[in-house]
Amino acid sequence: MVDESTRKTLSNIPLLKTKAGPREKELWVQRLKEEYQSLIKYVQNNKDADNDWFRLESNKEGTKWFGKCWFIHELLKYEFDVEFEIPVTYPTTAPEIALPELDGKTAKMYRGGKICLSDHFKPLWARNVPKFGIGHAMALGLGPWLAVEIPDLISKGVISYKEKSEK
């Protein structure tokens, strides 16, 4: 179901303990701290492995997340905005990660640019409630999606490289 390298990536993302969603005021803060700790470790791992591919931050309540992800293809860096909300039923149901700027450019998306995940993602997530968090959703959901879709979209000419004008 999961290949070796993904398995290795996964095993390096700290697992979470608190099963709490955003409706549970106090426990949610605990969960959110675990989310951040896990994400910080994951991003740090990525940097150490020279495989840094996203940044995320959230609103104060930790219910809305946004940031950037990037994908290197033929030595060019393609960058996309990422966003998602934490559903009330989290962590039983995974967040629906969206890349709004690609909405309508690929059939492997639902409305609003929510990425269409493989058949394996949801069962895998369900088996690992509440241990999987946002980092796992990125690693198992968005990561593989980018790896498959972005080269395809580039080859079709749907997206093209933009010189870094900003920053």
């Binding site: 303990k17 931050e57 909300e85």
Partner: protein, 386 residues
Amino acid sequence: MTSVEELQAKIKDLEEKLLIATQKNVARQKIKEMSSEVVDSNPYSRLMALKRMGIVNNYEKIRDYTVAVVGVGGVGSVTAEMLTRCGIGRLILFDYDKVELANMNRLFFQPHQSGLSKVEAAAETLRNINPDVDIHTYNYNITTVENFDNFTEVLRKSSLSDGPVDIVLSCVDNFEARFAINTACNEFNLTWFESGVSENAVSGHIQFIVPGDTACFACAPPLIVASNIDEKTLKRDGVCAASLPTTMGIVAGFLVQNTLKYLLQFGQVTNYLGYSALTDFFPTMTLKPNPNCEDSYCRLRQKEFALKPKPEIAVEAKEEKPVHEDNEWGISLVDESKDVKDQVTVAEGVQLAYTLPNQAAVEECEEATADTDVSLDELMAQMKAI
């Protein structure tokens, strides 16, 4: 120069168009009481005939009921139209999506409605079909924190007597929204129907959920109707979902049929009805709730249900066994502490979408996130600083 014939033809054409256009604006007046009088002008005569035929005892009671339809897509819009034509008292519609041309392979919506919100477009059409139905619309995503409380409040207070709605119909197309509905209905003890059509468009199901009495959506992994397609031949190349108006219409039909049976108390309400389009196979079964359900409100409802005196169903002279007394297919909930096989067959032609591990068998992990005294703000700052 245009000839007289051409101009005459054009006038005729325009006159026809004008006739159609003016007819569009003919709306029928509201009708105060449902009459069973059989005249051309009575929109309820064929429905009230159900009484005369002894199928339904109290058809006009339908006007007292409120139904919430969550998701007004391929299944939900048809569901809403059926209920409207049946003369339901109040209809509450939830959806955050817009009508698109890509929806036109399904029933109900029309190309000129593209760009409108689904709930608004639906409400307009439905009010035109039957102005007696009181239609309320909510254009938002129910799964988000900012809308969920309003969603539950509407479900609890929007009946015609300001109480809870009589039934909730889930016509959504994703797991997250189903789970949100399940959470709300367990918490506030609302009876609901789950419905769905598979992403390959060739199977579907409806499931009747009475919190505490029948299995909730969190009691077991979702059920899937076997489509008899070899997984290996099923290509998902470049597409997320296929859909057919046929399958969706069939599922909507089952859904509303059972809703009518539940509200008007005739026939038997089916607990689970599956549909496999490729083989025209319709598995049915009853699912008992899982005493170890993850949802604490589900467990609470189960306790309440166990204490409640069961209504004795008056059976007429001849003794008939309840439909689901025998367990021909050996349906049972799987004990998660036991080693479960990869594929669990729940009933013939129905499987669990996936199986859950026993809690001990955890994926190997490096470390669990430790409790530290670092504050959330510090963590947020740390994340930003990377």
